[in-house]
Amino acid sequence: MPYLFDSQLMLWTLFARPQILDAFDNIELEVLRWQGTGKRLHKYGGIQFDFNGKEIGHIHSNGLLDIRFNRKIKAQLLAENRITDHHVFEKSGWISFYIENENDAQYAKELLRKAYEGLYDHLHR
């Protein structure tokens, strides 16, 4: 069911904001260049990026990017005023960010890179 719902979001995105799908490709290309990363379907629909079996973040087909940080980083990012609390788990370290254009895609890459570096450092500490 979640996958079916996400595919409807993709259909809507395809006709309403097709450039977002190009931005997804752009992000995917970038993230999959980083050492040890992979992608798969997210359990609630969308594409999930992993590092060493752990989730970096996922993008739903309407352009909603969700990433988990620790609360300290989340607070710093919230201060930048571009991200919001996670659309469901508001009180957690998860954040949400809507990708609506190419600039947003660039920021999304920066957010994913930050999460990736966190996981990378944790693994190599």
């Binding site: 595919s7 993709m10 259909l11 395809l14 799908l21 190009d22 997804f24 490709d25």
Partner: protein
């Protein structure tokens, strides 16, 4: 025509031929000469396999996400066009089915790209074999699903006044609010009866002229009107998809000059999976109820 275009077209052609072939074979092998049933696999497994076939032909083309989604849409458009032309499916049915098959076809495309990238023949064959097994198993399984939809409204009139408008009513003139009625799905227009007694014939006439023939089986004045549907129109939107079995209006005197009117409909679905199609069946039945019951309310409150 360059190689790239040929590969894209092969994806469309082979996936569509595969789906037509598999549906044809399954109908030939597994239908038991009775009521045709559209099983879960036809809307889930076949689109997944179609998506995987497309992925097989498109795997080396380095297609961007936008094109993958667009081509998946085109593939579905072809399936729907074939269903319209060769299977005689109605347009509204195709509108209803398209989100389901789009979702599973896209899933097939994604899984296919992942699988074929790994180039693991054993894994590929295993997954396809599992999907075919599920298809055959589903084709051989029994399918039976019945449900009831119930709606209630309060009418500011006593039961005796409401009753005469429940048994039969003049043409509904209000504009349709429900989006499926607005895009062409027939909506209820008028009801006629041959008499006011148990066993009398009743006709529910829809906006396109199609008629449901009904027989009153309970005539408990100002309380209960129950009727069996004895003849359904051969409308491609209904045929082989749903049977409306029984309808009922229950009137409850609230003791303050108002009446609670409850409309019940029993139906049987011939399309699966029901977790998807029953959402639509309930929504459509509910909107048929509400259109009729709002009309009864308006007539009774005059």
């Amino acid at each position: 025509m360059n190689t790239r275009t040929i590969q894209i077209l092969k994806g469309f052609i082979v996936s569509n031929l595969f789906s037509v072939g598999l549906i044809g074979v399954s109908k030939y092998l597994f239908s038991r000469g009775g009521q045709p049933i559209f099983i879960f696999s036809e809307f889930v497994i076949i689109p997944i396999l179609m998506g995987m076939i497309c992925a097989w032909f498109w795997k080396d083309l380095n297609l961007p996400g936008r094109k993958k989604a667009l081509y998946a849409c085109l593939d579905i458009f072809l399936v729907l066009a074939f269903s319209y032309i060769f299977l005689g499916e109605g347009v509204i049915c195709l509108v209803i089915v398209s989100p389901l098959i789009f979702g599973f076809l896209m899933l097939g495309v994604f899984v296919g790209f992942k699988l074929f990238k790994r180039n693991d023949e054993n894994l590929n064959v295993s997954i396809i074999a599992i999907l075919v097994f599920v298809f055959v198993n589903d084709s051989l399984s029994k399918h039976n699903y019945q449900n009831r939809v119930s709606d209630t409204i309060t009418i500011n009139a006593p039961p005796a006044k409401v009753w005469k408008n429940v048994v039969a009513f003049e043409k509904i003139k209000q504009e349709n609010k429900y989006w499926l009625f607005r895009i062409g799905m027939p909506s209820p227009m008028q009801t006629t009866v041959t008499g006011y007694y148990k066993g009398a014939g009743r006709k529910c006439i829809f906006s396109n002229g199609y008629t449901f023939d009904e027989k009153i089986i309970t005539y408990d004045e100002a309380r209960d009107l129950t009727f069996d549907i004895v003849g359904q129109p051969r409308d491609p939107e209904i045929m082989n998809h749903i049977d409306i079995l029984r309808g009922q209006f229950l009137l409850k005197d609230n003791g303050n000059g108002t009446t609670t009117l409850t409309g019940n409909s029993w139906y049987k679905l011939y399309v699966f999976p029901t977790w998807y199609y029953d959402i639509w069946a309930q929504s459509i039945t509910r909107n048929v109820h509400l259109r009729v019951m709002e009309h009864i309310k308006q007539l009774s409150e005059k």
